[in-house]
Symmetry: C2
């Protein structure tokens, strides 16, 4: 196992700034491109990350750590951002995500989690029993997986512009 | 075609800051993990990006735009960073990349390229004829493709730590 709480927090702390660095007042064009119908742009991804702060990571950790006997998580709505982001600019979302993430991490740090705490169990509605350690690992790589998705979408935007170099760029090779 | 010079420069300008935001004084652990023997860590990727500034993008654009009759590019050494990065910290590389990229973009902007310039042709040693427009498109998505690679490598670091969530993270699903 590679998980370490401090090491994870260091990534979780930086993700909002990574998105800000790339997208704050960038051409709206880059933030809105996607991979086709029903796929996500950077704008959609950011809305999804915001909804995760509100309803997923910390709320689920609270269920695991709390006194309640029912440890079952609420299902997560992967499409909630379609409504929640309405009328907001990319810059609004970048600020909102940064502020929510800061609160989430303050909450996480305030718990001063022990190894025993990290072993505690909750129940995912589809996946069954999961530990707090697994939840926090997933939170961390979930950020990175969406940086991965966002960069992939942007690479594809120039798929036809690179000409013969298409063969050298793994993401484009199979298009 | 989606290529636009200003739109590309905006990405090229931000890449060094994206790497800095994520890696400056981050746990060395995250910068050094890779996907196994002969694969690249974020540290290796950054060395490769530095070598690209020195020998690839602007030098090739100069061949395309110059008066020489031989328009063939020098082959690019994909493993040069193994030697060039020796003894340097991640922070050294982050600073070096930022400074080289700034010079590259100053050079690029000073040319005030026209559509006719962008149509000019060079000869890639393996791919044959390529236009300046294709070179600049490739430079742009090359940054994003390496952000993609770097995030993939980091996601895999927690592959076993996420437990049953492995099935929800595309990068990990097929491991």
């Amino acid at each position: 196992m590679n998980f370490n709480l401090d090491k994870s927090i260091k990534i979780l702390e930086r993700t909002p700034a990574v998105f800000k660095t790339l997208f704050y007042e960038l051409d709206a064009n880059w933030a809105n491109i996607n991979e086709g119908p029903r796929t996500w742009s950077a704008y959609d991804i950011l809305g999804h990350l915001i909804h995760g702060e509100q309803t997923d990571w910390i709320p689920r950790a609270e269920i695991i750590l709390g006194d309640g006997s029912d440890k079952t998580f609420e299902p997560f709505d992967r499409f909630a951002q379609e409504k929640l982001s309405q009328g907001k600019t990319m810059e609004d979302l970048l600020e909102e995500f940064a502020s929510l993430r800061e609160s989430s991490l303050n909450q996480l740090k305030s718990w001063k989690l022990s190894e025993e705490d990290l072993d505690k169990i909750g129940v995912h509605p589809d996946l069954g029993e999961v530990s707090l350690r697994q939840l926090l690992s997933t939170w961390t790589v979930h950020d990175l997986a969406h940086i991965n998705q966002m960069s992939r979408v942007m690479v594809k935007h120039y798929a036809n512009d690179v000409g013969p170099w298409k063969n050298y760029i793994r993401i484009l090779k199979d298009l």
